[in-house]
């Protein structure tokens, strides 16, 4: 009678141990041990995997390994440089006047830029049921009825797959998809301003979609190939042409984004069939590409798995990099065929503590560093040099530090009557300018970086971060309104200078000179929780240096955005991550016509300066060179003087990598870095076994403690029973 339960327990224990392998806390199946797999994690589930909609870093982590736009960023070179991906070469635009006649690049008659892109032949798509053909050559899964999908729940349930060669038409098709009325491409508005005919094309599609709906065929397949797009055409199997209005050199950077990656029409047709969307079978869920990896498991609740695309052509690892790359071992695989890793497993980790601990146990190959774990992971020398802590070094963990292509800033709303610069009265404008300059000096970003970012940042001297053309290091690059150059370094001006400016602004000792009333300013922020209090106290302290009272207006993110949208926030702190490594992508944040309040543009401070706007129009279309640098210098000087932002800091990214990972160099522009990575799976396996030996004595101790705790109860019970028996 007692045998059965014992067997059950033995079976359960055997299953438990069987699943554990050599170590017990391995979260992966034991059979995956030693496999050529890269392990990573994600915190936010991707919203979109359709390249026409996807625009976030979280999604690019997956999509950039699958989709292949014509261009990519060189993995190792800095400053960032474009190189071909599927294209034969980086296209050089030719210029035409309004009549279509060729003109010189610097001609004032330039009306169009023409990009002709030739892709490499022989590139194949990943295996996919959309390409599967039957014996007669017909596409096998393109005329499915609803009942054919009865037993289909995922893409892998289709027994047959196929492939085909990548063609220029696929790129053209994807550009047309930007205007698809049922998709929401975040760049449609911007691209409509540049790609010839895209706006009209979008209108045409909208009408056609409405006609379909009116005919009772809402959601039916909309064949984009039936409608021509004037500015985009296929020249031959491997070439296509894009006509851009005017000059727009930044367009080449867009050609390195997934918005311009190829999508085969077969995939769109396949997923458009009746019943597919109801089963989550969409292009938004199952990307299809020509890249080194394909998504074989899409479970954003738990894990996403990328596996080597068996049809991938194989790209050679770069032969050159920047200085120091060879010494760092980053050229050891030069010329070798990529990718080096067979499989990439991304596990969902919502909380930082499990993520960090699993990295330390060797179950994730790389990790960022949160503020909580910074002291455990990093030691900063008195010279300011950061290195891994001895504990990390003993495990062979390396630190990779890099300055991001981003900026964090403190904005003054230009429309505000106190701190803004839009007043009609010149004297009032001057007062507000001096007030902003005084606050810019008082806001000690060096202290902020030290306290709240663990030193991970470079104080901003202007909007352009290091690594982007236009940035100037050293004395030439400082903000002379806020800093002095002293002893070979920038020194923030003393608070006395700020107080003098404040007095000149009409607020001596933080009080309005005329009324004697204290100056009260308002900071709108989403920081409201107990954890945010130190940061808010810091802001108050900075303003208190000038005897200015700072009122914090905490609100949720929606309301905050709304205030900024309506130009109702007086001051706020925000940030910007670059889309592409061009100064235009930072300088446009001050372009008057792109005011957030007026036109819903990206100029959140609503800054407006006629000279700046005029220079911006010039600089945005120029090639990098001394002439462009001179204009950027002038624009930066205007910003220094007007101070629409207190330039906060450019964040530094610190990442930790285990010793078994090689070929990893931070690249803030390229998201397709997985193909370059190499891992030493045997070393990882040995390290995991060494670091994760089960410690069994606590189990014995716990059992002993339970027994010791139960002993008085057992003794007491027996005594009672005996005493009852005796009675």
């Amino acid at each position: 009678m007692h045998e059965f339960p014992r067997h059950v327990w033995l079976l359960v224990f055997a299953v438990f141990l069987g699943g554990c392998g050599e170590v017990w806390n391995n979260p992966y199946p034991a059979q995956d041990g030693g496999s050529n797999t890269f392990y990573s994690a994600f915190t936010e589930r991707p919203k979109h995997l359709d390249p026409v909609q996807s625009y976030s870093e979280d999604e690019a982590e997956f999509n950039a390994q699958i989709y292949e736009p014509p261009l990519q960023y060189h993995y190792l070179k800095r400053p960032y440089a474009l190189v071909p991906m599927t294209a034969e070469a980086v296209p050089r635009p030719r210029y035409e006047d309004a009549a279509g006649r060729p003109v010189a690049a610097d001609s004032p008659r330039v009306a169009f830029s023409v990009y002709e892109i030739r892709i490499k032949p022989g590139i194949l798509y990943q295996p996919h049921p959309a390409f599967a053909r039957d014996e007669t050559g017909r596409l096998r899964y393109h005329d499915l009825r609803r009942e054919d999908l009865a037993s289909i729940y995922a893409l892998r349930d289709f027994p047959n797959t196929g492939t085909r060669e990548l063609t220029a038409a696929d790129y053209v098709y994807q550009i047309k998809r930007l205007a698809h009325p049922r998709l929401h491409s975040p760049v449609l508005g911007l691209m409509s301003e540049y790609i010839v005919g895209l706006r009209e094309f979008a209108q045409r599609l909208k009408q056609e979609d409405a006609a379909l709906a009116a005919a009772g065929r809402r959601g039916a397949w909309l064949d984009l190939t039936r409608f021509p797009l004037a500015g985009v055409e296929t020249l031959d199997t491997y070439s296509y042409r894009i006509r851009i209005k005017g000059r727009y050199p930044q367009f080449a950077y867009w050609l390195a984004m997934n918005f311009f990656a190829p999508v085969p029409i077969e995939a769109d047709r396949f997923f458009a069939q009746l019943g597919m969307a109801e089963k989550n079978l969409t292009l938004d869920w199952y990307p299809i590409g020509t890249g080194p990896y394909m998504l074989t498991e899409n479970n954003p609740n738990a894990r996403m798995v990328l596996e080597r695309n068996p049809n991938y052509r194989g790209e050679a690892y770069p032969n050159e990099g920047e200085q120091g790359d060879a010494a760092a071992g980053l050229l050891a695989d030069a010329g070798k065929r990529m990718p080096f890793v067979d499989k990439v497993v991304f596990s969902r980790e919502r909380e930082g503590i499990p993520y960090w601990n699993k990295f330390l146990q060797g179950y994730y190959d790389s990790s960022g560093i949160s503020s909580d774990s910074f002291d455990q992971a990093v030691r900063v020398s008195v010279e300011g040099e950061a290195a891994v802590s001895p504990e990390m070094a003993a495990r062979g963990i390396r630190l990779e530090a890099s300055v991001g292509t981003a900026t964090r800033y403190f904005a003054f709303n230009w429309l505000d009557p106190v701190v803004g610069g839009g007043q009609a009265d010149a004297a009032a404008r001057e007062r507000a300018r001096k007030l902003r300059q005084a606050i810019s000096i008082a806001l000690d970003w060096e202290e902020f970086i030290s306290i709240f970012a663990n030193g991970r940042g470079i104080p901003g001297q202007g909007p352009i971060p290091p690594g982007i053309f236009g940035f100037k290091a050293g004395e030439a690059g400082i903000n002379p309104v806020v800093y002095d150059w002293s002893n070979g370094a920038s020194q923030r001006k003393s608070i006395e200078v700020a107080k003098r400016l404040l007095a000149e602004a009409g607020y001596p000792d933080g009080r309005e000179a005329k009324s004697g009333q204290p100056l009260v300013l308002y900071l709108d922020t989403t920081d409201r929780g107990p954890g945010d209090k130190p940061r808010l106290d810091w802001y108050r302290k900075q303003f208190a240096k000038l005897s200015i009272q700072l009122e914090i207006r905490g609100t949720d993110y929606n309301r905050f955005q709304e205030k900024v949208r309506k130009g109702a926030a007086q001051m706020f702190a925000w940030g910007w991550n670059a889309d592409y490594p061009d100064p235009e992508n930072f300088l446009f944040l001050f372009h008057g016509p792109q005011s957030r309040a007026r036109t819903q543009g990206e100029n959140a401070a609503n800054y407006a300066n006629a000279e700046y706007d005029r220079l911006f129009q010039q600089v945005k279309h120029m090639d990098n060179g001394p002439a462009r640098q001179a204009l950027i210098d002038r624009m930066t000087a205007i910003l220094h003087e007007d101070a629409p932002w207190s330039f906060g800091f450019h964040p530094k990214d610190y990442g930790l990598i285990h010793g078994w990972v090689t070929n990893l160099k931070p690249n803030h522009m390229a998201r397709n870095g997985l193909k370059y990575r190499r891992i030493d799976a045997a070393l990882r396996e040995r390290s995991r076994a060494e670091w994760n030996r089960p410690v069994l004595w606590p189990l014995g101790l716990i059992a002993a403690l339970i027994a010791a705790s139960a002993a008085p109860a057992v003794i007491g019970w027996r005594r009672r029973e005996q005493s009852r028996g005796g009675a």
């Binding site: 699943g19 199946p29 009325p181 596990s347 919502r350 330390l360 929606n558 009672r720």
Partner: protein, 325 residues
């Protein structure tokens, strides 16, 4: 009995409408359809046209509760509230704001939630009832005193502490089970052991004290004295008589939570990376996904109503005097 059940189920309809209305009001007090669109479309380069298009496609371009521009019944039916709520009553949850089928997500995520919730519930009930009976057995002794002290100490500690402490000791220091993650099939046991254990331990303090109080109240009654006078052993008195008669208050607290086991645990699922319904709800709140939030609130309310009904029905099983009419 059948009439009682039908009547109770009919009562559920106005309750569910009320809950729906309340959820709707609370959600849209802090969120506008524009906010929802912006959350889905991202922060960068979002045009007003894209927002309008997003709203129109999902029916968020209509008035919230009353459509003054419509005619007749459409003044009420052509509103966000009506269109989003009515289908819930036939369990058509529709699509999340990111376009994915909510019903499919719920079906997929129910398994992991139950995999944690059911063993936690069963084991927790067994442990706490046993512990409470033991304390009742040793009532007014130093064992009872220290048992209660331990319970008070345990219930004073935040459940977050149990989770983080448990992960630190069991997974990080002792390397006995994975810190987080989930797998299907037999392999799931490695991932479930720690969250179940922690959930049970975290619940011991408060539940034991509650059951102990119930048992002590029963122990003082005449029938217990009579049982002892008949010479029954203390275990027999406790397990066969006290436990049985204490079932009504126990069932009141226990049966009502059984249906809610489907909903999962927000905290445990989040920290242990379990892809259940608890984490689904948290994700939806963070993403301001009204479609998912209202679906989860609706299911939660429905399950709670079912739980209350089951509680009432269970009374008839443990107490023959109870008659439902």
């Amino acid at each position: 009995m059948l009439a009682y059940i039908v009547r109770r189920l009919l009562y559920a309809i106005p309750i569910l409408i009320g809950v729906n209305l309340l959820t709707f009001a609370l959600f849209f007090v802090v969120n506008t359809p524009d906010d929802m669109a912006r959350m889905q479309l991202g922060v960068k380069r979002v045009t007003p046209e894209a927002i309008e298009k997003w709203k129109a496609e999902r029916g968020y371009d209509k008035p919230l509760l009353y459509n003054g521009a419509a005619d007749g019944a459409e003044k009420v039916t052509s509103t966000i509230f009506f269109e989003k709520s009515v289908k819930l009553f036939v369990f058509d949850f529709g699509r999340a704001d990111d376009g994915r089928d909510i019903g499919h997500e719920i079906r997929t995520r129910m398994g992991p939630s139950l995999a944690i919730a059911v063993p936690t519930f069963v084991l927790g009930l067994f442990v706490t009832v046993s512990f409470a009976l033991l304390l009742a057995f040793f009532r007014a002794t130093y064992l009872d005193f220290w048992g209660v002290v331990v319970c008070v100490a345990m219930m004073s500690v935040s459940s977050l502490f149990y989770i983080i402490g448990g992960q630190y000791l069991v997974s990080k220091v002792w390397h006995l089970v994975p810190i987080s993650g989930y797998a299907g099939g037999p392999d799931a046991m490695r991932f479930l052991l720690l969250p179940v254990l922690i959930s049970v331990v975290a619940g011991i303090g408060s539940s034991t004290r509650w059951y102990r109080t119930i048992f002590l109240e029963e122990i003082g009654k005449d029938y217990v004295r009579t049982a002892r006078a008949k010479g029954l052993s203390e275990p027999t008195v406790l397990f066969r008589h006290v436990l049985k008669n204490a079932m009504i208050p126990i069932l009141t607290g226990v049966v009502v939570v059984i249906p809610l086991l489907f909903m999962g645990s927000l905290l445990v699922e989040s920290f242990f990376g379990v892809p259940g319904l608890g984490s689904y709800t948290i994700d939806a709140i963070n993403a301001q996904d009204f479609a998912v939030v209202r679906s989860m609130v609706f299911i939660g309310s429905l399950l709670y109503i079912v739980g209350l009904l089951l509680t009432d029905l269970s009374y008839t099983l443990v107490d023959p005097r109870v008659r439902l009419q």
